[in-house]
Amino acid sequence: MRKPVEQIEEATILFAGDSGDGSQTIGTQMTETTALIGNDVATLPDYPAEIRAPAGSLAGVSGFQLHFSSEQIHTPGDLCDVLVAMNPAALKVHLNKLKPNGILIVNVDNFARRNLRLAGYESNPLEDDTLTKYQVFQVELTQLTRKSLETTDLTTGEIDRCKNFFALGMILWFYNRPMEYTMKWIKVKFAKRPEYIESNILALRAGNTYCEATEQFAVSYDVKPATFEPGTYRNIEGNMATVLGLVAASHQSGLPLVYGSYPITPASDILHGLAQYRNFGVVTMQMEDEIAAVGVAIGAAFSGALGVTGSSGPGLALKSEAINLAMIAELPIVVCNIQRAGPSTGMPTKTEQSDLLQMFYGRNGESPIPIIAPSRPYDCFETIYEACHIAIKYRTPVIFLSDLYIGMGAEPWKIPQLSELPEIRANFAVSADTNNGFEPYLRDPETLARPWAKPGTPGLEHRIGGLEKSDVTGHVSYDTENHEKMVEIRAEKVARIADDIPPTEVFGAQEGEILLLGWGGTYGAIRTAVENCTAEGLPIGHVHLRHLNPFPNDLGDILNRFKKILIPELNSGQLRQLIRSTYLINAIGFNKVQGQPFHVFELHSKIDEILKDIGHP
C-alpha cells in the first residue's frame, strides 16, 4: 500500500558532500523537476574554489540549496527542512543550516573513523548527542548503491559515482516528484556512455524504491504547484539569462556580438554559454588576459559591432584603463561584472556586492559610466538587454553589475515574446552632414550621443583616442576650457539617461516608517521581509534599484516619504555612501560581508530594532 502523503506549502533542501560527489548535479536535477511540475523555486549553489579539495575535508564540501513552494518565493530559504550529508565534513559544515527537528539524511557508510577525523569530529556524531534535535535517517548509501548495481559490469569506483542518483531517487520519493525528467537528462548527458545511462537510472530507481520499501520513512510530502501568471516558463540561471539577453540584443539590433573574455569565476559561464551560439553570428574570443578581453570589445565597437566583455571584480580592476578609453572615445560597449567576495582574489566562489564603488569610481579622471544591476536570476535577461540598449543609444560603456548569487542561482522565468523587447537602433552615421566635413563629436542634441561612424563608410574617415578631444571636431585638444566643457558634457550625457528610466516601483507602504532600499542580488531576502511586514500591516516599503548610475529622477522624492531609509547590502555600506552624499539623508546601513546572502530573519531583526528605536507601537 502507498504510504500517506502530507501536503505542505514549501520545503528547503540542502544537498552536501565532497566536491566530487555530484551534489550540484542532483541539486540542479531536483530544481529542474520541481520547476517543471509547477512550483516556484530558488537555488543557491555553494561550492569550494578547489576543483577537488582532499576527499572528506571541510574545504572540499560542496553544497546546493533549493527552496520550492506553492507560493511565489524570492530566496533559496534561510534554514533547511532536509539536509542530505554525504559525509561527516558535509554534516559539520552545514548542520547549522538545518531547522530544529529537520530531516537529516546521512550516508552512514562514510562515517568511518578517518572521515570523522578529517571533519574534526572527536566522536561519531551519529552515536553521541550532537544530533538529538533532528530526525536522523542513517542510510547505507554506498552499500545500497553497490548492491543495486552489482549486476552491471562497472568497476566499484564507477558504481560509487552513481550514489548521488541514489540520493536523488530518495528525495524525489520524499517530495513525490516524478523521475522521468531526470531519466531524460541522464540519457542525453551520457549518450556516449550507455553503460552509465543504465547504471545511473538503476541507482535513481533504487533510491526511490528503497524509500517506498523501508520502514524508516513513514510519510512523504507534496508541494502543490504555485500560481504563476499565464505564459511559457523555463528554469533559468542568472548567467544563462545574461547570455540569452546578449544574444537577443544582438539579434534585435542587427549588430553582430563580439564577446571578449578571460576565464574567471563566476563569469566564465557567460563565455561558455555564448560560445554555443555561432549560428547567431556570435563571436567569442578567449583572450590572453582581461585587458585584451575588453580591448577586443572596444575594437569591435569601433568597427560597428556590439562589443561586450565579462569578468568579476579582479578582472574589472585590470580592465579599468580600457573602460576609461571607451568612455572618452564614447564607444558603446557592455562590461559585465559578476561580483564575488573580494578584495583581491578574496573568496572566488562566494557572493558579495562590494564592487559598486569600484564601478563608480575605479578609473582615473572624471569618468561617469552608467551602471545597472539585475535583481534576480531571470532579471539578468532584461537588465543586460537594457545595458546594450543604453550603450548603443548613448554611445557609452555600460556596466552590468551582477553577482555570483544571481549568476549561479536559478528560478522559473516567464519567457518573453520577441515583440515585448524594446527596439534597439544603431543609427550609424552614413554621411557628413556639415559643411566642415564629418565632425565626430557633433552631438545629438537630445541624448548628447556622438555619431557612430564605422570604418568602411566613405567620407567619414576620422581619428579618435584617449587624448582629450575638441568639442565637435574631435581634434586633439589641450585647451583648458574645452577640457572642462568635455568633462561636463560627458557627465551630462550619462545624467540624461535618467530620463529614460520608468517611474520607480515602491512595494508595500508608499510612505511611512521605513523604506528598505536595495540593489542587486539582495532583492529576494528584502522583498520577503517586506512582504511579511506588509502582511502584518507595518508601514514599510521596498525599492529595489536597477539603475545605480544615474539614479532614477524620482528617487529623492520617494526617500523623503519615509522616516528611515534602511539600506541592506552585502558590503560595508557602498550604496549607503552614494545615497547619503547624493540626497544628504542619514540612511541606515545593514551590512553583511560573509560571502553569503542575507537571511530573511536577519532583516526582520534589523527592522524590529529600527521600529523600536523610532517608537513605533
Binding site: G38, E229, L244, A300, P455, E461, H462, G466
Partner: protein
C-alpha cells in the same frame, strides 16, 4: 558578419594620391625624428594598395610613434599603452574587410604590451604591425627601453641598465609570426617594398623598423642606417639569394656549425657557394632564427628584409568559417526558438 575579402577599388573610381592620405593635423614630432620618413613612406604606398581609403584603419598604443594615426587621413584609433593589438584584433574580427595597421614602439609593444604582442603574432589575424624601434622611451623623456643595450645610461639607469634586451625579430618568430621583416626608417627604397609586402601577406605581418630618436638616443642605429656604414653592417635578405654584403660585395654569411659567421669571398678560402641561401618561405624557423640572432652578435651585419613569410590560416577566417558551418548545420539563429529551448511548461 561579412565574409568577403578586402574590397578593391572599383574600376573607373577617381585616383587617390599620397596627398589624400595626409590628415589636416600638423605633424608634431621632433625635428629629425625618423617617424617623419616612416609616415611619408606609408602615405606613399597607400594609393598603390588598391583598396578604398575608408577601408583602412590605423591603430596605435601610446608613445611617440603612436601619434601616427592622427596624421593619416584614414580611420584611426589612438588607444592606450600596449593595448593596440587587442583593439586591432576586435576591429578586424568585427569587420574582416578592413585593412588594419598597428603602429607601435619598442616600449609599447615589448614592455607594457609584451603579452599582447606575442598573442597577436600567434593568432595570425590579417593585421600589419609596424614596430618603430628606437631603443629608448622618447615621450617620457629618455628612459631605457626593452631593446636598449645592456649598460644603457639614462635618467632611470644612471649607472647603466642591468637587463638584457629583447630581440623583436626573435620574439616574433618564437611567437609563431607568419611574416617577419626588418627595415630602416629613412631607407625609402627598402621600407616601401617591405610595407607593400606586409600588406600583401595574408596573416599577421610584423616589421621591425630601425628608427632614430634624434633627441634621446641619436645614432643608436648609425651603423645600419647611415649611407656610409650600412653596406658593411647590414645584409639584405632576398629569397633564393646567398647572403652577400659589403661595399665591395666581398663578404658573406656562412654557417659554421650552428653559428653564422662572416667570411671573405675573395681570398680563395670561401666562395659564394659556401654562403647561406635565404629561404623566406621555409615553414621551419631554424634559418630565420639563425638570421635573427645575428643582430645580437657583435660585429655581425644586421639582416634587413623578410626573415619569414609563410601562409597559415587567419584567426578571423577560422572564426567566420565556424559561424558559417554552424549556420549551415543548425540554420540561422532563431531567437524565439532559443529563448524557448530546453524543458518548458505553460501556465494558462
Amino acid at each position: 558578419m561579412k565574409r568577403k575579402r578586402t574590397s578593391r577599388i572599383p574600376a573607373g573610381a577617381p585616383t587617390v594620391t599620397r596627398a589624400d592620405f595626409k590628415s589636416d593635423q600638423d605633424t608634431r614630432w621632433c625635428p629629425g625624428c625618423g617617424d617623419y620618413s616612416i609616415l611619408a613612406q606609408t602615405q606613399h604606398i597607400m594609393p598603390e594598395l588598391g583598396i578604398p581609403k575608408e577601408n583602412i584603419v590605423f591603430i596605435s598604443g601610446i608613445g611617440c610613434s603612436s601619434r601616427f594615426p592622427y596624421y593619416m587621413n584614414t580611420y584611426g584609433f589612438h588607444t592606450i599603452h600596449g593595448r593596440a593589438p587587442t583593439i586591432a584584433s576586435g576591429v578586424k574580427m568585427a569587420n574582416p574587410d578592413l585593412s588594419v595597421w598597428v603602429i607601435t614602439g619598442d616600449g609599447d609593444a615589448l614592455s607594457i604590451g609584451g603579452n599582447h604582442f606575442i598573442h597577436l603574432m600567434r593568432r595570425n589575424f590579417n593585421i600589419n604591425m609596424l614596430l618603430f624601434n628606437n631603443r629608448i622611451y622618447g615621450l617620457t623623456k629618455g628612459q631605457y627601453s626593452p631593446t636598449s643595450e645592456q649598460g644603457k645610461k639614462t635618467d632611470s639607469t644612471p649607472l647603466g641598465s642591468v637587463d638584457t634586451p629583447f630581440n623583436p625579430i626573435s620574439l616574433a618568430l618564437a611567437s609563431g609570426a607568419t611574416f617577419v621583416a626588418r627595415s630602416v626608417d629613412i631607407d625609402s627604397g627598402h621600407l616601401r617594398p617591405m610595407l607593400k609586402a606586409a600588406f600583401a601577406h595574408k596573416g599577421t605581418s610584423f616589421i621591425e623598423i630601425y628608427q632614430n630618436c634624434h633627441i634621446f638616443n641619436d645614432d643608436t642605429f648609425e651603423l645600419y642606417r647611415e649611407k656610409e656604414n650600412k653596406a658593411d653592417h647590414t645584409v639584405l635578405l632576398e629569397h633564393g639569394e646567398p647572403l652577400v654584403f659589403g661595399a665591395e660585395r666581398d663578404k658573406g654569411i656562412r654557417l659554421n656549425g650552428f653559428q653564422p659567421e662572416v667570411v671573405d669571398t675573395t681570398n680563395g678560402e670561401y666562395s659564394i657557394d659556401d654562403l647561406i641561401v635565404h629561404d623566406q618561405y621555409a615553414e621551419d624557423t631554424t634559418l630565420a632564427n639563425f638570421l635573427a640572432g645575428m643582430s645580437d652578435t657583435p660585429d655581425m651585419p644586421h639582416p634587413m628584409g623578410i626573415f619569414r613569410s609563410v601562409r597559415h590560416p587567419c584567426y578571423e577566417d577560422l572564426m567566420t568559417s565556424q559561424i558559417r558551418t554552424a549556420k549551415e548545420s543548425m540554420g540561422d539563429g532563431d531567437l524565439e526558438a532559443l529563448l524557448n529551448a530546453g524543458e518548458t511548461w505553460t501556465v494558462s
